[in-house]
């Protein structure tokens, strides 16, 4: 098991280094002088020179990359061109809303998706199964921001049950915090629910066809017991894998959701940076988001041993 972990971490390090190289080279892939592009159309040559200086764009490329990656590994992601504040600090300030939103979304999505997937597989071919599959296609097709505005219109503007927009910090009370996160989590989670429900159904159907399920039935285990204890446990690996891969959907979706619901999180930081061409922010957040994705999928890989003890022994 230890060797597996060490191997995985080794290949993760390679992937992470490549990610860093790509995020770094984004700025040099654009045609023309990156400093001039960042400075905008009306910049003077002094402004362009100062940006080039601040980003170290005058140095040879390999040196720039080494400087950047050593700084990044110490948590120094450069400073915002617009405000002059360190990017790392800006990200940390805005971490709470983004983490709250993604965690609530994952919890709600898992509850809905696994239940729907298990019900669909247990009643394969019935109307429940067809309804779950039809809803999952709709879930894949509905854009986050459209769903978001429909939810705001119905539940906040017309019914006035929930706040229209904004974020309430957890320190101000858990109920208000939840009330502000319900609609964003539902919009963000829709595609994620669709993805997990589909894979849960497929994995359950595979497991339910196994011999040991027939054995369990024959020895008189209750149908619910078979579903939960025998089938769901053994369908765990594909489900957990997709939960990890699907985090990419959530991370991308956070940017849109925070913009729709006016949540002051890391996603909004990026959106605000687009119009200001604040490139260090875009670069820093892209690197952090990619790192989170890689780490979550490493955790998913390592959890295989917990779900299925045979994997650890191999």
């Amino acid at each position: 098991m230890l060797r597996v972990i060490v191997n995985r971490i080794g290949s993760i390090a390679v992937v992470m280094l490549l990610v860093a190289l790509m995020v770094f080279s984004l700025i040099h892939m654009a045609p023309g002088d990156p400093a001039a592009i960042i400075a905008g159309d009306n910049a003077t040559s002094e402004q362009i020179a100062s940006i080039r200086d601040r980003l170290g764009l005058g140095n040879p490329l390999p040196l720039q990359f080494l400087n950047w990656i050593f700084a990044a590994s110490r948590g120094d992601l450069g400073v915002s061109i617009f405000s002059g504040v360190p990017v790392f600090g800006l990200i940390c300030e805005r971490l709470e809303p983004t983490l709250s939103l993604t965690l609530i979304t994952i919890v709600i999505a898992l509850m809905i998706a696994v239940t729907a997937g298990v019900l669909a597989a247990a009643n394969a071919g019935s109307w429940i199964d067809r309804a779950v599959m039809a809803l999952s296609i709709l879930g894949f097709s509905a854009p986050i921001f459209v769903v978001g505005y429909v939810l705001i219109y119905v539940f906040a503007i017309q019914l006035k049950w929930l706040p229209v927009q904004g974020y309430a910090s957890l320190s101000a009370g858990i109920l208000d915090w939840l009330r502000h996160l319900v609609l964003p989590a539902l919009s963000l989670g829709l595609a994620y629910v669709a993805l997990i429900a589909r894979i849960t159904r497929t994995a359950m159907l595979d497991v339910l066809a196994e011999d040991y399920i027939r054995t369990a039935k024959a020895k008189g285990v209750s149908p619910d017991g078979i579903l939960i204890k025998h089938a769901l446990r053994n369908a765990g690996i594909p489900i957990v894998t997709v939960v990890g891969i699907g985090v990419a959907l959530l991370i991308g979706g956070v940017v849109i959701t925070e913009s729709v619901f006016n949540i002051p999180g890391v996603g909004r930081l990026v959106v605000d940076a687009i119009s200001k061409r604040d490139y260090p922010i875009i670069q820093g957040v892209t690197l952090v988001f990619s790192g989170v994705y890689v780490l979550i999928n490493l955790m998913v890989d390592l959890s295989y041993g917990l779900i299925d003890p045979r994997i650890g022994r191999r």
């Binding site: 490549l18 296609i137 097709s141 854009p143 459209v146 940017v255 849109i256 490139y279």
Partner: protein, 289 residues
């Protein structure tokens, strides 16, 4: 040929079409829906008025006669803009699907067949997959002048790894098959083995994958436009319409729901086609997914 024979032939053809519709209702529904959207986008100038004409005395008109979706805050016809909006979306969707499939196919064949290229290429693809598609697209678009071409490139790049993985998996499963081994033993050169004997097996899964990429590209384009990182605001797209009308949600909801609905229907149509094709091309898999 007698009249009787001709009649029998038509009825056979009709019943086989009927059977096709009955066996693939979702595929047919998706194709119909997409055909309507595609036609309305192509023939937009003959169907609706000028999408950019501003009528200052007709701002935020409610939906009604003459303006099925009302007018926006600048007094523009929302229905006309929605119909025109399909042009950018469909162009981006089709171009992204074509480009990423072609590049992904080439890289996937190389990775799958040339063992030495496999590991480095796949690590690069792993890294590319680790960067969330929207973030990569935002970063690329923010650095270049916004245009349809940069948007297409920015969306196509993050889609490539998915195609590479798929093609590589197919190559792995075909590589050791007797017909490929026979071709190699018969003295066929590597490019010929890859193109003539291996590539045809990738076609069916690639068509299905292309439709999913097209759907996802349309969603990402709309998101980029919505976030202000897409095509210039002068071109009507569903994303930038929703973004510019968002402040009027309570007063004029159809200026947002109209383009939103057509966006959702377009993506739904393409996803239905993808699912339908997958079921039709690979019935073994379809019973499970």
């Amino acid at each position: 040929m007698s009249a009787l024979d001709a009649g029998a032939a038509t009825s056979v053809r009709r019943s086989s079409t009927g059977r096709f519709i009955k066996r693939n209702p979702m595929l047919v529904l998706g194709i119909l829906l997409l055909a309507i959207i595609l036609m309305s986008a192509i023939f937009a100038p003959w169907l609706v008025g000028d999408p950019s004409a501003m009528m200052p005395n007709r701002r935020l008109l409610p939906a009604g006669l003459g303006y099925p979706l009302g007018t926006d805050p600048l007094g523009r016809d929302v229905f006309a803009r929605t119909i025109y909006g399909a042009r950018v979306s469909l162009t981006v969707g089709i171009c992204v699907a074509t480009i990423s499939v072609l590049i992904g196919l080439a890289l996937g064949l190389i990775a799958g067949y040339l063992r030495r290229a496999d590991a480095p290429l796949m690590r690069i693809m792993d890294a590319l997959m680790s960067i969330p598609a929207i973030m990569l697209a935002i970063a690329l678009v923010a650095l270049t002048q916004a245009s349809v071409v940069t948007v297409i490139a920015a969306i196509a790049i993050p889609e490539i790894p998915r195609v590479v993985r798929l093609v590589r998996a197919v190559v792995f499963s075909v590589r050791e098959q007797p017909f490929v081994q026979a071709a190699i033993a018969g003295g066929a050169k590597t490019p010929r083995v890859i193109i003539r004997h291996i590539m045809p097996s990738t076609l069916a899964p690639l068509i299905v994958q292309a439709s999913y990429i097209c759907a996802s590209a349309i969603l990402i384009e709309a998101a980029l436009s919505f976030l202000g990182a897409g095509t210039p605001p002068s071109v009507p797209t569903w994303g930038n319409m929703i973004a510019s009308n968002r402040l009027y949600l309570a007063k004029a909801p159809w200026t947002i729901f109209g383009p939103g609905l057509e966006l959702a229907l377009t993506v739904l149509a393409i996803n239905l086609i993808g699912d339908g094709l997958r079921d039709h091309l690979d019935p073994r898999l379809s019973r499970r997914m």
